[in-house]
């Protein structure tokens, strides 16, 4: 679909920054995206991910830095001349045109022949599985269908990069899950470069080849979903992706290859890590086991909250010396009640340590 001739990354962002008056929306953004990659920009609201997407689309000019598409510097090029297309958060179908005319909008401007336009429109609609919807109008479509038409309208132009700004956030959960499958299939079939923006980390992990995690305008981590999930680079990423427990601890006594971690009065050993002194202990809730008290040296606490999740139970356990309740996800039956005292256990190899600044929190 995209131009195969250029070597090198399809999209290059170099030191991109964006400031709105006093407010800095983006800083130090440097990122390479390869041809055919599905990259997700992930982060909470206001972290700058949408701003970055709009910079790539051309709706915003960066305050600093460059944007290169297929090797060309497009930093100052207006949106209508960039070889990219965007799918917006809300379906932005033109109300005065039917589905076919909507999809044909870009090709028409390019001046293609009527026959060619019709052919491409049919092709695009078939790709999004809406063949036959040509004469319909936007008010006759469901939310999911409208977004699929938006997709068709974008890909019919065969852009170098397809930009998607939280396209599923306005849809119901069930439709959203279906659309995720559709998006992955579409990406495989077209083989194009997709840049996706979302605040939903589950979605990001499910769809992407690589995830870029943003925090307050800066990139905190770039990596494959697996990588970002299992080896978060910072407490923020750990908390945001997978909702891990991030507990302040102390690490000392590296002894014949092992480190000793002190948490809430409980000590345990982990394989050697480079991290010493004040640290963060990252424990994903699904590795934390909850059991009836048996070992006095175990981390003990009181169940403050307990909810049923269908596949298992979700606990919040208050532990002396640990500020926030420890989250645990246990599959299967429970037998443990609200208010009960429990032992928390985990495989020392399954946790992760990150360095901690004393003024951080």
């Amino acid at each position: 679909m995209s131009d195969p001739a250029s070597a090198g990354p399809r999209v290059r962002l170099r030191d991109v920054a964006k400031r709105f008056g006093e407010v800095t929306a983006l800083e130090d953004v440097t990122l390479d995206i390869d041809d055919g990659e599905f990259v997700t920009l992930l982060g909470p609201s206001g972290c700058g991910k949408t701003t970055l997407l709009r910079i790539v689309a051309g709706f915003e000019r960066p305050s600093a830095g460059e944007v290169l598409l297929g090797g060309d510097d497009v930093t100052r090029v207006p949106p209508h001349r960039r070889p990219v297309n965007m799918v917006f958060q809300r379906p932005t179908l033109f109300p005065h045109l039917d589905v076919a005319a909507n999809v044909a909008f870009g090709p028409r401007i390019d001046g293609l022949s009527k026959a060619e336009i019709a052919r491409r429109v049919d092709e695009a609609l078939t790709l999004v599985r809406l063949d036959g919807f040509q004469p319909r109008r936007s008010h006759e479509l469901s939310g999911g269908q409208m977004q699929r038409v938006s997709l068709a309208r974008a890909i019919v132009n065969r852009p170098q990069v397809l930009l998607l700004d939280e396209p599923l956030s306005a849809l119901d959960l069930k439709i959203r899950l279906e659309m995720e499958v559709e998006l992955r299939r579409l990406h495989r079939e077209i083989g194009g470069t997709f840049i996706y923006v979302t605040h939903d980390q589950r979605e990001a992990l499910a769809l992407s080849d690589r995830v870029v995690v943003f925090n307050q305008g800066r990139i905190e981590q770039i990596g494959a979903p697996n990588e970002v999930y299992r080896r978060p680079a910072s407490p923020f990423v750990a908390r945001f992706v997978g909702d891990a427990n991030v507990i302040p601890v102390d690490v000392d006594r590296v002894d014949d290859g092992a480190a000793e971690v002190t948490v809430g009065g409980h000590r345990f050993r982990t394989p050697a890590s480079d991290v010493m002194g004040p640290a963060w202990l990252v424990l994903r809730p699904e590795v934390v086991g909850v059991s009836v008290p048996s070992d006095d040296r175990a981390l003990r606490g009181v169940v403050r909250d307990l909810s049923f999740r269908g596949t298992g139970h979700s606990y919040r356990v208050v532990v002396d010396g640990v500020r926030d309740p420890v989250k645990a996800e246990v599959s299967g039956g429970s037998g443990i009640d609200l208010g009960a005292t429990v032992d928390l256990t985990w495989d020392p190899e399954a946790c992760r340590l990150l360095p901690r600044d004393l003024d951080e929190d």
């Binding site: 689309a57 051309g58 709706f59 207006p78 949106p79 209508h80 001349r81 990219v84 297309n85 965007m86 917006f88 809300r90 932005t92 033109f94 109300p95 005065h96 045109l97 909008f105 870009g106 401007i109 390019d110 008010h139 309208r153 974008a154 132009n157």
Partner: protein, 275 residues
Amino acid sequence: MQGRRAPVPTAITIGALLFLFVPLAIVVLFSFNSTGSLTFPFAGFSTRWYRQIIESAAFRDAVVNSAFVGGVVAVTTLMLGTLAAYGLTRASTKLRTPIAVLLFLPLTLPGLFLGLSLLVLFSRVEVNLSLGTVMIAHMVYVLPYYLLIAVAALQRLDPALEEAGADLGANTWLVFRRVTLPQVWPVLLAASLLAFALSFDEFIITFFVIGADSTLPLFIFSTLRRTVDPSVNAISSLLLVITLALFAIAFVLTLRGSKTAGLSIDAEPIGGTAR
């Protein structure tokens, strides 16, 4: 939404409607009076006054002039006004405020001022008064009214649609032509019909800047001073019909325009409107 029982406002509303329409109805009624009397009792039904004025060349000239002026004013206002409304709604800079103030200022000044000052201008530059000077004056008078409608219509559009258009390859002009205009044209057309009607009916300013020609309101004015017979009623009724017809068309266009762009014109949707 439930209607409340409120006898006083209801009575006042009915009274107001009567107040507004009965005098006009009487004018129309007496235009068909078979005698030359303008007072009750109503003598009998006749169309002689209509025949009389239609045969009057002065009347026909006045109508043609009014229509001509109105047409020119409507078209030029459509062009200038649409451009200005676009500029006002798509720009975001402090410069916008003084420009908006200038463009809407004529609304606040009575016609007396506009008429007198234009008369002064024309005498200063030694331009003869004519239908041309009338057109100039009307365009100043009508523009803010057109802007009110056009600005409101353009502001109600979803800006994301224009971004989508640009994203798909349309430059500024194409976005306007293929995305913006198709959504607002009914409202803009209605607004220019309004401009036509305003110009057609204008008297206060026209009085000062017109030359030897006559427009329909001027014709009525001079007839009012001369004669006291139902021919005035006949002219008035014709004028009423024309302007009310224009209004009805504009109204229908506005309703249709709201549907095209998916908007609602009421302060709140009437209970039961499906969306």
